[in-house]
Point group: C2
Chain length 129, copies 2
Amino acid sequence: MNISEAARRSGLSAKMIRHYETQGLVTARRLENGYRDYAEADLAVLRFIRHARALAFPLDDVRRLLALWRDRNRASADVRRIALDHVAALEAKAEAMQAMAHSLRHLAAHCHGDGRPDCPILNELEKNP
Amino acid sequence: MNISEAARRSGLSAKMIRHYETQGLVTARRLENGYRDYAEADLAVLRFIRHARALAFPLDDVRRLLALWRDRNRASADVRRIALDHVAALEAKAEAMQAMAHSLRHLAAHCHGDGRPDCPILNELEKNP
DNA sequence: GATGGGGGTTCCCATTGCGGGAAGGTCAAG
DNA sequence: CTTGACCTTCCCGCAATGGGAACCCCCATC
């Protein structure tokens, strides 16, 4: 199957697939004319990548997860460590963003939000320290 | 004051300050030798930027907030809108990340995490659709 | 045979917000 | 005069794509 069908069937874009190839996550057989040719097994890899990316695993992690996936002698502990490290990163970022959102919501709640110029949001931003 | 002192006193890096200048957020007087020269008023702008960035406002928003800040005839409604739009974006991203973290934590909780190869995390990633 | 259309390919640029580092000007102290 | 600590501009790299150019391939139709 050509790249656009692989894209359609994997839920990725052709651009993404080529990019993942440059990053060493997938490889494709090449036809005589240079076209990439994907087998069902490749499709499984592409779907794996899509699922991992949907969970926001960086490509580096995806590469490691793929290696473990292919390794019949893997230790599930290795998979788990990658996942939990990623979870920690996600939660740290999410909490930081929630905290920022909270502060801003609080400031916005005290802002008239009308034609008058005074605004606690700007007051906060212009504070000295 | 030169750029490194402005950096120290604003809590930004010299690199950041130059970058903000290319993005039209700050301007600095130039000495005869081409060096940037900052006044106290510039420092206030730099601190404003730092506070806004600490709340993760994109530079485009910071530019708009600065314009409103300088505008004595601003409507606080405009400031509020920028802030609340940003809050919405922050919360959307944060919630998406929390959701991913939750799914992964759930999967990891069912993973032995020992030397055995079977792992619900990989099972999830290799699913068909 | 020529042409058109719809594939494919590679490669470069832009995004966002910086950091690193090179190449070179400037200035004060020793 | 040299050293060192500033400053300047400019280019590269990051992460993960999207957009688009320039060009190749193949098939069908005129």
